[in-house]
């Protein structure tokens, strides 16, 4: 069976990547906010207190620490608390964002091209990735809230196509 995306993404020809993605679990969430704060001793210490103060810190936050910034992804119910906590350290707040979570099999770490393929699916639809965070076999893709379920369903539909023929 042919698919228009087959022409767009050369990596789809790589059956290994398709197999990995087919075996991955996808979930999509909205009502998320993405906050960027300056990376310094004060903000890192505050961040530690913030995590401790949340009722269930283990479910609440996804974060990444770059060269000069820390990006925090959390449910919008924590936004006011985060604003109060980080106040002057906040560089950017993106409200109305959504996240697609992917849990892949271990082979993802041994297969070049997975991230390129995933991100190309978003680029093909002109959807900007606000953040992309991979930790071991998991991915978190942060995009505009309005595109979240549309993209999750698009990815699922791409993976339902039989590429063996």
């Amino acid at each position: 069976m042919s698919s228009p995306i087959f022409e767009k993404s050369e990596y789809l020809k790589n059956i290994k990547i398709i197999k990995i993605l087919k075996e991955s679990a996808f979930s999509a969430h909205t009502d998320i906010v993405c906050i960027s704060i300056s990376k310094n001793l004060n903000s890192v210490e505050r961040f530690k207190c913030f995590v401790k103060e949340l009722e269930d810190s283990n479910d609440a936050i996804v974060s990444s620490m770059g060269k000069t910034t820390i990006t925090i992804l959390l449910h919008e119910r924590f936004l006011e608390k985060a604003k109060n906590f980080f106040s002057k350290e906040i560089l950017d707040i993106n409200v109305k964002v959504g996240a697609i979570f992917m849990k892949c099999p271990k082979e993802v770490n041994l297969t070049p091209g997975v991230t390129a393929l995933i991100s190309s699916l978003f680029a093909d639809k002109n959807v900007t990735l606000y953040e992309l965070i991979s930790t071991y076999t998991d991915y978190v893709i942060v995009i505009n809230e309005k595109d979240t379920y549309k993209m999750a369903s698009y990815i699922k539909s791409i993976l339902e196509v039989n590429y063996d023929n």
């Binding site: 022409e7 767009k8 990596y11 960027s36 990376k39 310094n40 001793l41 890192v44 210490e45 961040f47 530690k48 995590v51 401790k52 810190s57 283990n58 936050i61 996804v62 974060s63 990444s64 620490m65 770059g66 060269k67 000069t68 910034t69 820390i70 990006t71 560089l91 950017d92 979570f101 849990k103 770490n109 041994l110 297969t111 070049p112 091209g113 991230t115 390129a116 393929l117 991100s119 190309s120 978003f122 680029a123 002109n126 959807v127 900007t128 990735l129 953040e131 992309l132 965070i133 991979s134 930790t135 071991y136 076999t137 998991d138 991915y139 978190v140």
Partner: protein
């Protein structure tokens, strides 16, 4: 591929290239990457580690996902982290490098991640980790491929 799609793709690539041309690209080697199970214990340790490393101006980058934490430190801290996280460690990758792209004008430009990761895919370079934080992008790859990759990326941007 239709002509329209080809043109759209070409224009997108030109936009991405112009953003990346104005970005700072660098590589840091002699690093070790830890993947750690996420739980309250490891989250607390990781938060302490961030404070400790910032105080001593040591290299530490990382990301906390739904199930795992990824931490990249200088290889001299390999044993230290091994003892700290112990049974919570899922995997350790030695001899890795961080490719860091400092892009300040990437907002609303789609295709940047596709562009930089497709070069890795074409060269069959495996990526052990990837994360963005506002303006910067961190890629973790084998250290013996790091400079080759940066060189290739810069060549492609100049072309």
């Amino acid at each position: 591929m239709t002509i329209e799609r080809t043109i759209r793709r070409f224009l997108r690539e030109q936009k991405v290239k112009s953003v990346l041309k104005s970005s700072e690209i660098g590589a840091t080697t002699d690093l070790v990457l830890f993947h750690i199970k996420r739980n309250n214990f490891s989250i607390a340790l990781y938060d302490d580690l961030k404070i400790e490393f910032l105080k001593s101006s040591n290299h530490l980058r990382g990301a906390v996902g739904e199930r795992y934490i990824s931490v990249i430190v200088n290889e001299q801290y390999h044993d230290y982290l091994l003892n700290l996280f112990r049974e919570h460690i899922v995997s350790v990758q030695k001899k890795v490098a961080c490719i860091i792209l400092d892009c300040s004008k990437t907002k609303n430009v789609s295709g940047i991640i596709t562009y930089i990761t497709s070069i890795l895919a074409k060269k069959k370079i495996n990526m052990y980790g990837f994360f963005t934080s506002r303006d910067d992008i961190t890629l973790i790859i084998d250290e013996n491929k790091a400079f080759e990759y940066v060189d290739e990326l810069k060549k492609k941007l100049k072309a």
